[in-house]
């Protein structure tokens, strides 16, 4: 089994707010992330796929195909967007780094053909990142 990791970057804005909570509870729980005008990050995405190396091509995955899938499924949808308002998953789910990683996992898992998705890692900053392995 060989693991291949491809990185990408996207820039987006978001804010944290749960409409079921009072404004005071939202402020207490989410602090400055609750500012309804939003704030932004440069996110770094790492997608790791795994599989056996194909004897004919020597590849675990066709990197061109993986790049195209990441571009179409993630970057076209999230890069330079206000996540709460423009990305369907986040119209009713808070776009925390956890939920962004889960949304990316769900967008990519079914689209990969030969290789299997192993891990999605999303860095919100250099000092904060989330890993998702598709565990229930």
């Amino acid at each position: 089994m060989v693991y291949l990791t491809r990185k990408a970057e996207f820039a987006a804005s978001h804010y944290y707010h749960n409409p079921e909570l009072s404004p005071e509870e939202n402020r207490r729980m989410f602090g400055k992330c609750n500012n309804p005008n939003g704030h932004g990050h440069n996110y770094t995405l790492e997608v790791t796929v795994k599989g056996e190396v194909d004897a004919r091509s020597g590849f675990v995955v066709d990197l061109k195909q993986l790049k195209e899938i990441m571009q179409r499924e993630v970057l076209d949808a999230m890069d330079h967007r206000f996540l709460n308002k423009e990305v369907p998953e986040f119209l009713h789910t808070i776009p925390t780094t956890e939920n962004i990683a889960i949304a990316i996992w769900q967008r990519l898992a079914s689209k990969l053909q030969r290789a299997q998705l192993h891990r999605v890692r999303v860095y919100e900053t250099a000092d904060l990142f989330v890993d998702v392995y598709g565990e229930a």
Partner: protein
Amino acid sequence: MKAHLSRRYLFSASHRLHSDGMSDAENRDTYGKCNNPFGHGHNYVLEVTVSGRVDEKTGMVCNLADLDAFIEKEVLTRYDHENLNCLRDFAHHVPTTENLCMRIYEIVKRGFGLAHLDKVRLEETMMNSFEYAGAAEPQR
């Protein structure tokens, strides 16, 4: 779905690697320049990984502010700008980064109950780092 959240922190401390169980010559041989009796320092990078199901109400594994406050109070305040050899934690243990990493794991495991602790990773320099995930738990 389950998520694993990692947070990085920085602290600076000094130490000297010296074991009372060895002769001076053995200490010099084992620890090299780390055995300098005056000590030396590092900028340590601490990476704490916690995991759990993402809470639907908050979208989080645990509130980052709670994790930050715990690490600040229980780890950074204890070690930042200290001489590790002078601390009770290392009265009977050599303050290698292995031992410091395991000690920090124990502090977080025992004191932070808001998410499952996966592992503690400690970078002593950009070139070497150590990970501890508990004695009984498989390494990821």
